[in-house]
């Protein structure tokens, strides 16, 4: 397996609390990797470290072999690592389509002059963005609300929109923090399909999820955290039977 992302000995302390404790693992450049664990196990903190929102106390993050530990989120995004948030962070005043178009930022060009004089290439890029945004919204099933302002979308659709927006950045690895939270069974099944398709299209996916059905369905590899430590890693089947995991999480 070639690793797109490698986390080595990541540790993060908050005061006396060690939220992430000496965690190491690799994420394959294809397929879906899931991080699971009880509440407060350190999953989101781990995501924050990987994406650059907070620096680790110790340890390193390698992205495609390059040490990116100290880089800011935007720099990591530019290298192909894009995330979503546990509590959705949409651009409330923009429509669904416009939210997705923001996602194309890295893949397009143009500053003040392009905005003011709108040369042909800029207009063309704008049309392309429009088309691609429509396609992405279609992928996550939000075509109907394309022109609705994000702030009035119900919670579940907001989550989907956030995924579509992240995809627009054409990431090499996509980090999803509890994408199925707030979705009902139907919807999360549809989400599972979408994620599989994303993975099949060649984007590595790293996701946090409490919905075990979803995890079992789509994950190729599962990392289990508890009290900040990695207590298990393996295929879903293996992890499901791991006594430590059963004790700590699945109960």
């Amino acid at each position: 397996m070639t690793a797109i992302l490698e986390v080595t000995k990541a540790t993060r302390r908050f005061g006396g609390l060690v939220a992430v404790n000496d965690v190491s693992f690799k994420v394959s450049s294809t397929g879906v990797t899931a991080v699971i664990g009880p509440n407060g196990a350190g999953k989101t903190t781990l995501f924050n470290i990987i994406s650059g929102s907070i620096p680790p106390s110790e340890g390193a993050i390698l992205l495609a072999g390059e040490d990116v530990t100290a880089l800011k989120p935007e720099a990591k995004a530019a290298r192909g690592l894009v995330r979503t948030f546990q509590l959705v962070k949409l651009f409330q005043d923009l429509t669904a389509t416009e939210n997705v178009k923001v996602g194309f930022h890295l893949k397009s060009r143009g500053g003040l002059l392009a905005a003011l004089f709108q040369p042909a290439w800029a207009k063309q890029a704008e049309r392309d963005a429009e088309e691609k945004a429509a396609a992405l919204l279609d992928l996550v099933g939000l075509s109907k609300v394309a022109r609705t302002s994000a702030s009035v979308l119900p919670y579940g659709q907001q989550r989907l929109l956030e995924i579509a927006r992240a995809l627009a950045a054409e990431p090499r690895i996509l980090l999803l923090d509890e994408p199925a939270a707030g979705l009902n069974a139907e919807e999360s099944e549809r989400l599972a399909k979408t994620i599989r398709r994303i993975a099949a299209d060649g984007t590595a996916v790293l996701l946090i999820e409490h919905d075990m059905k979803l995890v079992m369905d789509i994950a190729d590899e599962v990392v289990v955290l508890d009290y900040g430590r990695k207590i298990a890693q393996g295929t879903p089947e293996a992890v499901k039977k791991d006594p430590a995991v059963l004790a700590a999480y699945l109960g």
């Binding site: 994406s51 929102s53 800011k72 989120p73 935007e74 995004a77 530019a78 894009v82 995330r83 979503t84 948030f85 962070k89 949409l90 651009f91 409330q92 005043d93 923009l94 429509t95 416009e98 178009k101 923001v102 996602g103 194309f104 930022h105 890295l106 397009s108 060009r109 143009g110 500053g111 003040l112 392009a114 905005a115 003011l116 709108q118 800029a122 890029a125 704008e126 022109r147 609705t148 302002s149 702030s151 009035v152 927006r165 992240a166 627009a168 950045a169």
Partner: protein
């Protein structure tokens, strides 16, 4: 700002629906045009008021880019207006430059200053950003007062030549109003284009959530700076326009008064809308004249009216018009 109750408000003024009819917005533009037209035809002191209003509209357009599109606060834009205004004034009087190169020089100074100031300042958020920019505005004011050898302090600089290129000079009311109107329209056009561009979306992203913007690869501090520079450049332009139109400059022109007035205009007009700065500037400039006859009660009436407008049109006049359009199309 953090705990703003508005973060839960659903409607985005005007932004959300590109494919709707714009009766409300058209009405706003028509009203503005009517006011300017009246001043053009009848002249008189209405021309002076509308001229000032248009200069303010220029200033507020800049503020609107920074505050409306990018959702940052600056109480210090008067600093850049002052830099533009004083550069124009000093270069055209003491050094006898022509107005246009003076203006360009002012613009360059303002941009350099905005760059140096913006770099450290824009890291701040919320009230701290408001405070820091307020400090910048006040410091600039104090410098204008104290640096007498250049600015002549409160005495001010007079005898500044009118706007002009070569033999053409904007001296008459009509010429001045026409030049200013053209500038305001160009700016409105530019803001429309920016808003619908990649740049404008980056601004909106910064406005919506800096964290999410960063996660999508948008360099938040860079775009804040770009927005700040655009606003500073426009502010500087408005400062230069002021001194050439009036022929005089003194520190009070660029005091806290200017900032408060501009804030009022941008909110009464409609934050983040294209027509907002113009209609806001016109209304806030004309309002005191409506109450002029009330003498001692003028300010009282003005204050009360402002409170009423804010209460009944909290998203500003252009904002309300935009919302009406949205409702009609639904």
């Amino acid at each position: 700002m953090t705990n703003s109750p508005s973060t839960t408000s659903p409607e985005a003024p005007g932004l959300a629906r590109p494919h709707t009819r714009h009766f409300g917005s058209a009405a706003v533009w028509a009203l503005s045009a009517a006011i300017i037209g009246y001043a053009l035809v009848f002249g008189g002191y209405m021309a002076t008021i509308v001229a000032f209003a248009l200069i303010y509209a220029v200033f507020v357009s800049g503020l609107n880019v920074f505050m409306g599109l990018t959702a940052q606060v600056s109480f210090g834009q008067s600093a850049f207006a002052a830099i533009g205004g004083y550069t124009s004034a000093v270069l055209t009087t003491t050094y006898e430059w022509a107005p246009l190169p003076g203006m360009v020089a002012g613009l360059v100074f303002a941009l350099v200053a905005a760059f140096l100031i913006g770099f450290p300042t824009l890291r701040l958020k919320g009230h701290y950003l408001a405070m820091a920019t307020l400090a910048i505005g006040l410091i600039t004011y104090e410098i204008a007062v104290e640096w007498e050898s250049v600015t002549q302090g409160y005495l001010g600089i007079s005898g500044i030549p009118p706007l002009g290129i070569g033999p053409f000079e904007a001296v008459s009311d009509r010429a001045i109003l026409s030049v200013l109107s053209v500038i305001v329209v160009i700016l409105a056009f530019a803001v429309t284009r920016i808003r619908r561009s990649r740049l404008g979306r980056a601004f909106s992203a910064v406005a919506g959530s800096e964290e999410a913007a960063g996660a999508l690869g948008i360099n938040v501090s860079r775009y804040k700076l770009v927005s700040f520079l655009i606003a500073a450049a426009i502010a500087s332009l408005s400062g230069s326009l002021f001194v050439h139109v009036v022929g005089y400059v003194s520190p009070e022109v660029f005091g806290l008064h200017m900032v408060i007035l501009a804030f009022t205009m941008v909110y009464i007009g409609g934050l983040g809308t294209v027509a907002g700065p113009l209609i806001g500037a016109l209304i806030i400039s004309i309002l005191p004249e409506v109450f002029r006859g009330m003498k001692d009660y003028q300010d009282l009436a003005y204050g009360v009216t402002m409170i009423l407008i804010l209460i009944y049109a909290p998203k500003g006049i252009a904002g309300v018009a935009g919302a009406l359009d949205a409702r009609r199309s639904a």
